[in-house]
Amino acid sequence: MTPTFYEVMRQQGITRRSFLKFCSLTAASLGLGAGGATKIAHALETKPRVPVVWLHGLECTCCTESFIRSAHPLASDLVLSMLSLDYDDTIMAAAGHQAEAALEDTITRYKGKYILAVEGNPPLGDDGVFCIPGGRPFVDKLRRVAKDAAAVVAWGSCASWGCVQAARPNPTKATPIHQVIDNPVVKVPGCPPIAEVMTGVVTYIVTFGRLPELDRQGRPKMFYSQRIHDKCYRRPHFDAGQFVEAWDDRGAREGYCLYKMGCKGPTTYNACSTVRWNEGVSFPIGSGHGCIGCSEDGFWDKGSFYDRLTNIKEFGIEANADRVGATVAIVAGAAVAAHAAVTAIKRARSAKSNEKVEK
């Protein structure tokens, strides 16, 4: 027999006490009241792997592709041993009626117990006809499946913020999922998110029986609480005033800071400079291109990817000790100001983007 959810948790070193706490938290979040926790505990002890329903709206499937790049855990281990991926149009064997039946069976049989993962977003323009899998608007499917989900995960910038199809002028009225469903949403932004960030979020939920700690915008703090700039290995060059001035120049070959080439690392919250990509092989800055800020809300509409973040005047590279010292002071000041301004704007924006769309 495949181990049950409870057995898997025990194998991962989770105590029975923590397990029961998870059950009562889940029960409370579902509004099941007294006795609900016992029911959930019983279900999880007898029912094996956590069912996952993975829906696709308007998207490009980069999140799925990223997910299967995960090195720890391997996607195959996750899907075969820890979860039960009962519905996912991209990889499931069944199609058409048999696929729809698999979805209905999962959300009925595991009512209140399945995780909903959403890749892409619903277009609300024109009654939702811009995305009609199964002949019906995607937004209806999303709301129906979300209704009885134990937890909802928004994969990538599409589900979290809207992403490219929501860039100005957003022709289809593509809308992030938290604006159309009532559930709390764990946002895992990025275009796509890093593979190990995605599997890290899922295994955290399954292993520790609770949602990871989230920031005000609903992003897991373990991956999104620091700027790429904060942990960038090229940061010392920024501080020393050593910049790439043109593509493939001497500074580029030395691996200097890409700030002047438009790098958005100083305003982007993500784990690229710590977790890195594809089993730690590199990340955008590590391969010579600035960060384009793909995990930030509305990053498509913040000017060119090659525009500098602020108007810091050019200054000499390693001119002399005094000059560099002065440079550092200026840069640090400007950078702090930029950070502060961006953070303030972000707060204002997040307050706005958390508003629900009327149903």
Binding site: T2, P51, L58, E59, C60, T61, C62, S66, I68, L74, S76, V79, L80, L83, S84, L85, D86, D89, I91, M92, A93, A94, A95, G96, Q98, A99, A102, G125, D126, G128, V129, F130, C131, P133, G135, R136, D140, V164, P169, P171, T172, C191, R234, W247, D248, R253, G255, Y256, N278, E279, V281, S282, F283, P284, G288, H289, I292, W300, S304, Y306
Partner: protein, 594 residues
């Protein structure tokens, strides 16, 4: 609908109607409806793209140097193909010549995608059409091992390996939670593999899932991440300096070399032997699914061996078209000829002033119009059956000199075969001989799937070729990876236009850009799945998907395995196919039910 005769097919929608929606194991959202006669043979096929994102209007007014990042997000499965087409379009418009190293690195990254994408398509999107997971439980691990060792030197083939795999699979099935295998068509009479071949294929399904992660690391080395690596107008962003810790250096190059070696080994020792072994049990499928492949195929060509030269002298994968099945004459293709490539919309949810005419993408117009025909069953937000006599898809209908064209690996192999290019002709002849089938067998579901496998191997070996070229350049002191002469918009002409071609894994891809005052004035893409999945044209000519489904017998129409086999053989990508919109950004969507 009365019976329609077109292109040698007889379309008759009087029989029972079967709907398959969603078509799963593809990128994006696709619906297929077919009619079957009393003998369950398909007599009519209807392909409907069910999503639309409108990316081109979003591009209007933006910096052309940013366009690669936007268009790259058209598709995350064939990641990078739109970026390549985009940077080429901008470079063509402005007249930027990229350095040789940049050309080689782009080729290497692109070949990397071919290897990974074709591999994932075969094992994770297509294999379950041929491989019965449940049957593998009855396999004898010893005989599975013998089978595996008889067809390949791949080391993971011991009795113990297959015994362990089978017991894992058994535990999985007995848990009652089949996950992605839930409600599959297990036990369907269409499955022909013996249990041992099924078990072997499942082993390789899992190995390929783990291995594909390795292949893409080459894109990560040069582009910083995958999916969606970074590209650059004028070259590539990653500089080369063997003596620097901050650039492509010996350690990075060694990693590339190691991955290339492993990729060649996996494809030649796992994918190709599996493909041939599985195909030998499904030779019937050399009779079905050909569609228009034996008539019209199109390839824009790819992998320029000479930087900035897209003539057939330079293209390692040639450009050309075959019309009316005439393999003796390969037609030239000109992406800028206003009369050659055009898009039509009489059956698409868009509006033209004159829908009897097509538009070249330089002048493309796309005004959404979600209108359902009077014979539609259901409502506009709950469609039961579409009406193919009216508008029925978010995909447009592209035509080459008025003809529907198949694109993709099979099309590329047919064009290259017709041109007598040995790298393509010899492997095709080898496979035909091995399976003991004649040349026309190529024009089929099986032929399409086989061509993709051969191409995957071709691409893997080309990765090595590009790597060696890069090393030779570095040895000769050539380090440049970017041409920045025209980086600044002030150096650009006030108005210009250009085309970016690409052969994506799924087929011919083109981007057409107009730039005005350093901003994008017009951007249009015609993508592979638009060619293949597009609806009928005004003359009722059917496209590749619809044609390929025609006349296929279905064993159990309620379990549409045969539809999946043929549609999957094209490797659909609907997010690509359905994103176009007018440069004018006219009013979005006028909706009415007739």
């Amino acid at each position: 609908m009365a019976v329609i005769e077109t292109q040698g097919f007889r379309l008759d929608n009087s029989g029972r109607r079967i709907v398959v929606d969603p078509i799963t194991r593809i990128e994006g959202h696709l619906r297929i409806e077919v009619n079957v006669d009393a003998k369950n043979v398909i007599t009519n096929a209807v392909s409907t793209g069910t999503m639309w994102r409108g990316l081109e209007v979003i591009l209007k007014g933006r910096d052309p140097r940013d366009a690669w990042a936007f268009t790259e997000r058209i598709c995350g499965v064939c990641t990078g193909v739109h970026a390549i087409a985009s940077v080429r379009a901008v470079e063509d418009a402005i007249g930027i010549k990229i350095p040789d190293n940049a050309n080689i690195i782009r080729n290497l990254m692109h070949a990397t995608l071919y290897a990974q994408d074709h591999l994932v398509h075969f094992y994770h999107l297509h294999a379950l059409d041929w491989v019965d997971v449940v049957s593998a439980l009855n396999a004898d691990p010893r005989r599975t091992s013998e089978l595996a060792q008889s067809i390949s030197a791949w080391p993971h083939s011991s009795i113990g390996y297959y015994r362990d795999l089978q017991s894992r699979l058994k535990r999985f099935v007995e848990s009652g939670q089949l996950g992605p295998f839930k409600n599959g068509y297990w036990g369907h009479p269409g499955y022909k593999l013996p249990p041992e071949a099924n078990l072997m294929a499942i082993g390789h399904y899992l190995e390929a899932l783990d291995f594909q992660r390795e292949i893409v690391k080459i894109q990560t080395i040069f582009g910083g991440k995958n999916p969606h690596p970074n590209w650059l107008v004028g070259g590539v962003p990653s500089p080369i300096d063997l003596d620097s810790p901050g650039a492509i250096n010996m350690e990075r190059l060694n990693m590339v070399a190691r991955i290339i070696g492993e990729t060649i080994a996996f494809i030649d020792q796992v994918y190709i032997p599996d493909l041939l072994a599985i195909a030998s049990f499904y030779k019937d499928w050399a009779k079905w699914g050909g569609g228009i492949a034996s008539q019209n195929v199109l390839a824009y060509g790819e992998f320029p061996d000479i930087a900035n030269d897209d003539s057939n002298k330079s293209l390692l994968m040639p450009r050309g078209a075959i019309l009316n099945g005439n393999l003796k004459e390969v037609q030239p293709v000109d992406l800028k000829d206003m009369n050659e490539i055009q898009e039509f919309v009489p059956h698409s949810w868009y509006k033209y002033a004159d829908e009897s005419k097509g538009l070249h993408p330089f002048d493309g117009v796309t005004e959404p119009e979600f209108v359902l025909g009077k014979n539609t069953k259901g409502t506009r937000t709950n469609i039961e059956n579409v009406d193919e006599s009216a508008k029925y898809s978010w995909v447009k209908t592209p035509r080459f000199r008025g003809q529907p064209m198949e694109v993709g690996p099979l099309a590329r192999y047919v064009v290259a075969y017709a041109m007598g290019r040995p790298e393509f002709k010899e492997p095709v002849d080898m496979v035909l001989k091995k399976l003991d089938v004649p040349l026309p067998a190529l024009f089929s579901t099986l032929g399409r799937t086989a061509a993709r496998g051969l191409e995957c191997s071709w691409a893997a070996h080309k990765m090595k070729y590009f790597y060696d070229k890069l090393i030779a350049n570095i040895k000769a002191g050539q380090l440049a990876t970017a041409n920045v002469d025209n980086w600044e918009p002030r150096t650009w002409p006030a108005e210009c236009k250009g085309v970016g071609y690409c052969e994506a894994p799924r087929g011919a891809l083109g981007h057409w850009i107009r730039i005005k005052n350093a901003k994008i004035d017009n951007y249009q893409c015609i993508v592979p799945t638009t060619w293949n999945a597009g609806p009928r044209d005004g003359k009722s000519q059917i496209g590749p998907y619809e044609a390929a489904l025609m006349n296929t017998p279905m064993a159990k129409p309620d379990e549409p395995l045969e539809v999946l086999r043929t549609i999957h053989s094209f490797d659909p990508c609907l997010a690509c196919a359905t994103h176009v919109i007018s440069p004018e950004g006219k009013r979005i969507a006028t909706v009415q039910v007739r």
